[in-house]
Subunit: 413 residues, 2 copies
């Protein structure tokens, strides 16, 4: 089986042809979910699926499944897939790579006349990006039972158009119920981060998805005129908050390598050049692969807030309020699938390393209903969700070869 | 002479009567420059001036001068004054106190039949607040030659109405040229800061006005997704900028007691909860009484920016740009006038201390054309430019007694 290799040139051509639909002048893609352009892209790819002998089935949310029959067709399918909708100024690879890699696996198996024990399926999930309709990762979320079908179908865009209406308009309001048994799920994806490039690896063996906790922190001091108020009498909310900004980074550093800590939004009140800030409200994003570690990271944040409030940090007491906004639990991927990916990369001699995903993917929802794992390949400068998103053909080819081998290992069983 | 005292009750009543014009439900004043309410307040106070035997003269910018004749009326007048316009949610004391204290000095001299050697003048300056028309401190600015009369007269409010038109509309477009010789200028004012209250002083002997330098600093790193980007590979502009926020405070602390350092405005780009900030732009406000010290404070700021840019602060190089936005030079007040104020406070047994003004006042412009000094009295919690602005009658009385003594010391000559 190790002798079978995918056709990197064909994979690249498929990606480039798909990227013509909704191409932007700067080399990116604007193909928002359930627009006419999304419809064109679905038509193109389902045509390719049928040409590859797959049986195409569309569910009520427009999720597309191309099925390749197995020797024991009663087995739950080994599935791969991703999405082909994009951000408004998105790139050519995010999502599309996972679908085209899966298609290339099917084409390669056809060429070599391979029939697997379990059936295979290639999935295209509706509205992964969430740029036009929320919730984000809509199709896979309903598939995995994370939120109800009705929530998704009644979601509207800024113009008031509904998912249900737009699915019908592009001809993808299917009849199949949403959700069916999946034996295993693999997803190939560009990394959307800088690690593989920095470490000169070709394959990222994704061991799981980081848990996430979001907070809003409000530091309140005393607003006062910047001129007449001497330093010892100030209660400067920004000066106080700056120690928390740094602590968020310190916490993440202390929980290396899987810890992340980010302050992304800062609002200063009253935001006047000559007024000492009386109130600062900012976001905190903490992530880790391990729920226990995430608990400890949160405890550190709360300790730092208490220390600041009591005046132990700056010598000046301030009011500090921490509000928990959202949380996702960490999702470890299925060890046996992860092992298939690691072995496939090693067998083919690709430089590889274990990695975690900090971004959301359809695979993170699929992991709730099936053994799941992901394969990452490097993207240029770690940039994604951007028209300048780029990836090297040989890396994309390597990722698809690993996907092929991992699916075969799982489905031949 | 030390036996003469002003009438604190009469001073308080005058302040309260003036405060009825434009009174707000929360106990403040909304009496913007050159509105009908400002016109009513001018009518009230010029009526009181005339009742006190003052000759009222109005210049082309609507500055009002009430003159009390001297034995040697050819001498340049010893002037006092302030303003009676307010912020949109201003208080009863900012500006008004200086004018009412000056009026009370005139009334007291009349009661005691005192004629001074030099003539005295009571000034009401047009549009000190700058809340409706800019430039701020408009009347005194033109009087002192800081900017041209035409700039002031053609300034318009948000509705497009001009200073010239609004002066005419309220009947205060005078005919006197703007600017005349002033022998000395005193201004009594609430402190608008917390020092006197904190130090339990009644009189602040104002030795000068802080110089001010404003900068915009831009720190540029690399915008990236908060999930997939591990800590060592980040170029977080906010994390970097937070060290500069702290350094601004450290610099001011190191130049105590007259140093001030404030970051009042912070804009984070792209300001998304799950994106590492790629760019942070923030304001820096540095102040000191001494120009040389201010130079050294600026040098410290620039050193800190260079250190951050070169990666010496966080281990990560960032782009840091410093743009100088505005500067006012420090204004030391006239030592002989300051000495009169200090002696008057001491002679009457008022707890007093030297202090500087960090806020702008008409006196700061007058200091460019005449020997000038200011008298501060405490205000509650240091709060000003706010409807809750408050001051104690006995402090206001003390300040007016010091003003009386200082003006007599100067004008008796």
């Amino acid at each position: 089986m190790n002798a079978i290799k995918i056709n990197g040139e064909r994979l690249w051509q498929a990606l480039m042809e798909l990227a013509r639909i909704g191409a932007t002048p700067r080399g990116g893609n604007a193909r928002l979910a359930l627009t006419a352009l999304d419809g064109q892209a679905r038509d193109l790819v389902t045509g390719w699926m049928r040409d590859a002998g797959l049986t195409v089935r569309i569910d009520r949310l427009g999720n597309i499944f191309g099925r390749r029959v197995g020797r024991n067709d009663a087995l739950a399918p080994v599935m791969t897939g991703s999405h082909i909708d994009t951000q408004p100024t998105g790139g050519k690879f995010d999502g599309c790579y996972g679908v085209m890699a899966g298609l290339e696996v099917m084409r390669t198996l056809n060429e070599h006349g391979v029939t697997t024990e379990a059936p295979l399926e290639l999935a295209i999930w509706t509205n992964e990006e969430g740029a036009r309709f929320v919730p984000v990762m809509m199709g896979s979320g309903v598939f995995a039972g994370v939120f109800p079908e009705a929530t998704a179908l009644t979601a509207t865009d800024d113009a008031g158009k509904s998912v249900a209406g737009e699915l019908a308009a592009i001809g993808y309001a299917g009849t199949a119920p949403v959700g069916h048994k999946v034996g295993a799920y693999f997803e190939a994806h560009i990394e959307q981060g800088p690690i593989l490039e920095a470490e000169e690896k070709v394959i990222g063996v994704v061991t799981g998805s980081l848990g996430l906790r979001w907070y809003d922190v409000t530091v309140t001091g005393m607003e006062a005129h910047a001129g007449p108020t001497p330093m010892p009498l100030r209660r400067d909310a920004l000066y106080g908050a700056s120690f928390l900004f740094q602590e968020v980074t310190s916490i993440a550093n202390d929980f290396a390598p899987d810890g992340r800590g980010t302050v992304g939004v800062v609002n200063v009140h009253p935001s006047s050049r000559n007024v000492i800030p009386g109130r600062v409200r900012f976001s905190v994003d903490l992530r880790h692969l391990d729920g226990g570690q995430l608990d400890r990271m949160e405890a550190r944040l709360r300790q730092a807030c208490t220390a600041l409030a009591r005046g132990r940090t700056t010598g000046t007491a301030l009011a500090v309020e921490v509000e928990a906004v959202q949380r996702f639990e960490p999702t470890p991927f299925a060890p046996e699938l992860v092992a298939h990916i690691r072995q496939a990369a090693a067998a083919r001699g690709y430089a590889h390393c274990d990695i975690v995903t900090g971004a959301g993917h359809d695979a993170v929802y699929l992991a709730r209903v099936a053994p799941t794992a992901m394969i990452f390949v490097p993207c240029k400068d770690g940039i994604s969700h951007n028209e300048s998103e780029d990836a090297r053909p040989e890396h994309l080819e390597a990722g698809a070869n690993v996907l092929l081998a991992a699916m075969l290992a799982q489905a031949q069983g």
